[in-house]
């Protein structure tokens, strides 16, 4: 193919001017090189693309397809059009689960990002000491514990005779003790605490890495100008780690919206649906109610919701880079 192209250009070169011919030849050579590079790149990308197509795109397309059928997962299905989507709007339980997921963003995202900023800014001050290493390790530890184990551990801690209530009793706050995960008013915040505990380590580490990149002379200059620790934080630290904050917020918001394991282990959506989240509702619909179509419709709506929440965050961070 390359051969024919070269021959073709040679024929035209005879009738063109010397300078423009050499420029065109250079352009063509460049294009040929790009094309070659393109083939190599394609060869490298194909295996991953095939896996991605088989395990991500195909299920995605199938989910959209299933959402238009009434299907129990085994026997013949019936085309129902947009009926499954219409039923989502009518069902207060499913809307409630989306509301719960949005509320979880506060606990899974805002709390760990704020606490992460606070701890990272504190650790940064004594970054080279052994204490910093210990605190980093301790705070990051929840990140390496499997979510299921974290969930089980916290159900013990939050039980009515668990450590949290024992501590409250110990300091004379008996009136506050309760079955945190068994009370409809506290179950969702209690699940939120578990999520915040897990996410804190990652946020702290990311933000600490971001802070390490800040030029120390900036701080020196600020100090000469008479800035205190608070002023330093808002004038230098915070603006410098905006990009890292963006990453933290994106990751934790997705984990809040897609929460399944922590909720499944600690409350299974109960009591009285107070911690029901879309991930769990999709699972119940698909496997217990055996309404695969309805479950798929909720999954599609939910994916759209996640994109609607996450894309603006992405855009904000990208613009702040420029």
């Amino acid at each position: 193919m390359m051969q024919t192209r070269t021959t073709g250009t040679t024929g035209r070169r005879e009738v063109s001017e010397q300078s423009s011919t050499s420029a065109e030849a250079r352009r063509r050579a460049l294009r040929a090189r790009r094309l070659r590079r393109g083939w190599v790149a394609l060869g490298l990308v194909v295996p991953a693309a095939v896996a991605y197509a088989a395990f991500v795109l195909r299920p995605l397309v199938l989910t959209v397809q299933y959402s238009f059928y009434d299907w129990n997962g085994v026997t013949e299905s019936t085309w129902v059009g947009a009926e499954n989507y219409r039923r989502l709007v009518d069902n207060p339980e499913m809307l409630g689960s989306i509301g719960n997921a949005l509320e979880l963003i506060v606990y899974f995202s805002f709390v760990p990002v704020l606490l992460g900023l606070l701890t990272a800014a504190t650790i940064r001050k004594f970054a080279t000491s052994r204490l910093a290493l210990v605190s980093r390790t301790v705070l990051f530890l929840p990140q390496v514990i499997p979510l299921v184990a974290a969930g089980i551990m916290w159900t013990w801690l939050l039980a009515s005779d668990g450590l949290v209530n024992e501590l409250l009793r110990g300091i004379g706050l008996d009136a506050l003790t309760r079955a945190w995960l068994g009370d409809t008013s506290t179950a969702l915040p209690a699940v939120g605490v578990i999520g915040a505990w897990v996410a804190l380590g990652l946020c702290m580490l990311l933000l600490l890495a971001g802070m390490a990149k800040i030029d120390p002379s900036l701080y020196e200059a600020a100090r000469i100008d008479g800035a205190g620790a608070v002023r330093e934080f808002f004038a230098i630290t915070l603006p410098s780690v905006r990009q890292e904050i963006g990453v933290c917020v994106t990751v934790t918001v997705i984990s809040a919206l897609a929460a399944f394991d922590i909720v499944y282990i600690s409350t299974q959506g109960g009591p009285a649906n107070s911690t029901l989240v879309p991930g769990l509702e999709i699972y119940y619909l698909g496997f217990f109610s055996r309404e695969v179509g309805q479950a798929s419709a909720l999954a599609v709506v939910f994916m759209a919701l996640v994109l609607a929440v996450v894309l603006p965050i992405q855009r904000l961070t990208r613009e702040s880079d420029r």
Partner: protein, 453 residues
């Protein structure tokens, strides 16, 4: 640079569109159509309901944590050396959600089954009518097999037999004898008023009256509720609802009375304060540790409690409103079925008959399973020591038989009614967000929407 990025973006976009198009084209046929064609029996029935003499490996999918099935398998292999078992174990919740796919794609010869009506209606289960006739199961008390019969509309209670019990279990109230003695309770309460009295005394003495699981997706308050329903009303009415008989309702004056009684227990603080986050294993460990007077549970724990708290556990059925009144209890076979596409359905059926008729098997059913074996009323039963709770649960089973008070668990009315309706609504009852009448109205509405659609 920006030109290159723009072009590669275009390339990626084009590739994605092509790929998506390709996937869409390949995925356009309606889901599930292919499975139904061969949903019926693949195995060639020979009519010979035995395991033959050649080597046979039965594949079994059973519930983990309950040693009964494995003990029976081992004994069967001892008696029939040509038969071995290939056993896969999972938790009941996992089996429930996997059941249709496993029965269709990876058909086991024996499988612990959840609610059978939908599976039978979908043609996934082997019809055991021929086996019932061959083995004479038809001559057993009809109530034993009724729950596993499904008619062509997917209603239970009549029609072909689609599953069989390894034994049949029953629920009631276990009590800690030492704690009972502390509050002056010397024997089982004979009326609801006496039970109320014992609960009040326990509460006053600082003992948690009832540790009952009601957390997560498992509403354990359905146990006391159904017991109370049997005290106030007729088991037959409740069964017709569970079996999805036309026009049946769970929202009747007597069931509302029963739910109101449960609500009074909740309001009086008779359940542990964290009842809505308590799971089954936490309930058992609290009871075994002597932290509560009562639990509402089933005789499948009899053997376990005899081992863990020997001589210290009593059992009674939820008492009637008036002394000497009839009693009822949740009583259901430990259902096992055979996939419609199983490789050795006849050998599996033979095994199920052996479980009900062989003396050693019946002994294992009682001693390991803690429940009454299936079979004729006058069949062999092993000797059980009088001071054990197993002896009491077996005796209670006989009472239920006399009063014709066996009921299928209300949580098994439909596939999702337990996790999606009873559980959240019972948790709302505990939280004070709903009252007795509201609870039953809500469950009835969910039931109608589920079986209607």
């Amino acid at each position: 640079m920006s030109r290159t990025t723009g072009r590669s973006r275009r390339a990626v976009a084009t590739a994605s569109v092509c790929l998506a198009g390709l996937i869409t084209v390949t995925a356009c046929s309606a889901p599930g159509a292919s499975t139904t064609d061969d949903g019926t029996a693949d195995a060639v029935a020979t009519g010979d309901m035995t395991c033959g003499t050649e080597d046979v490996t039965l594949s079994a999918y059973v519930e983990t944590g309950f040693p009964l099935a494995q003990e029976l398998f081992d004994e069967f292999t001892v008696q029939h050396p040509n038969v071995t078992f290939d056993v896969r174990e999972d938790q009941f919740a996992v089996i429930t959600q996997n059941a249709p796919r496993v029965l269709a794609d990876n058909p086991p010869d024996l499988m612990r089954l959840p609610q059978v009506s939908e599976l039978a209606a979908d043609g996934l289960l082997y019809d055991l009518d021929a086996a019932a006739e061959a083995f004479g199961w038809d001559e057993w008390p009809a109530s034993q097999l009724e729950q596993m019969r499904v008619d062509e509309d997917g209603r239970r209670g009549s029609g072909p037999l689609y599953a069989m019990g390894l034994n049949f279990s029953m629920t009631g109230v276990f009590y800690n004898k030492e704690l009972a003695a502390q509050i002056g309770m010397t024997g089982a309460p004979e009326t609801l008023a006496e039970l109320d009295d014992a609960l009040a005394k326990a509460k006053a003495a600082g003992i948690t009256p009832i540790a009952q699981f009601n957390g997560g997706a498992t509403g354990g308050l359905a146990f006391p509720l159904q017991g109370l329903m049997a005290s106030y009303g007729e088991p037959a009415e409740i069964n017709s609802w569970t079996y999805q008989q036309p026009g049946a309702t769970i929202d009747t004056p007597t069931t509302v009375e029963a739910a109101a009684h449960l609500q009074r227990w909740i309001e009086a603080g008779y359940f542990a304060d964290d009842v809505n986050s308590l799971d089954y294993s936490m309930m058992m460990s609290r009871f075994i540790d002597g932290e509560s007077l009562f639990i509402f549970n089933g005789d499948w724990e009899s053997g376990n409690l005899d081992t863990q708290m020997p001589g210290n556990v009593g059992f009674f059925l939820v008492p009637p409103v008036e002394q000497g009144g009839e009693v009822g209890a949740m009583s259901a076979p430990l259902t096992y079925g055979i996939s419609a596409r199983a490789e050795h359905p006849e050998c599996a059926a033979y095994f199920l008959d052996w479980v009900a008729t062989d003396e050693t098997a019946r002994t294992i059913s009682v001693e390991v399973g803690g429940s009454h074996p299936m079979g004729p009323a006058d069949a062999f039963l092993p000797e059980v020591a009088d001071d054990t709770v197993t002896a009491q649960t077996l005796a209670a089973g006989a009472t239920i038989g006399e009063d014709d008070g066996a009921m299928e668990f209300i949580a098994n009315a439909t596939g999702a009614i337990y996790a999606k309706s009873w559980t959240p609504n019972l948790q709302k009852l505990v939280a004070g967000e709903i009252d007795a009448a509201g609870l039953l109205a809500a469950v009835q509405a969910d039931y109608e929407s589920e079986i209607g659609g």
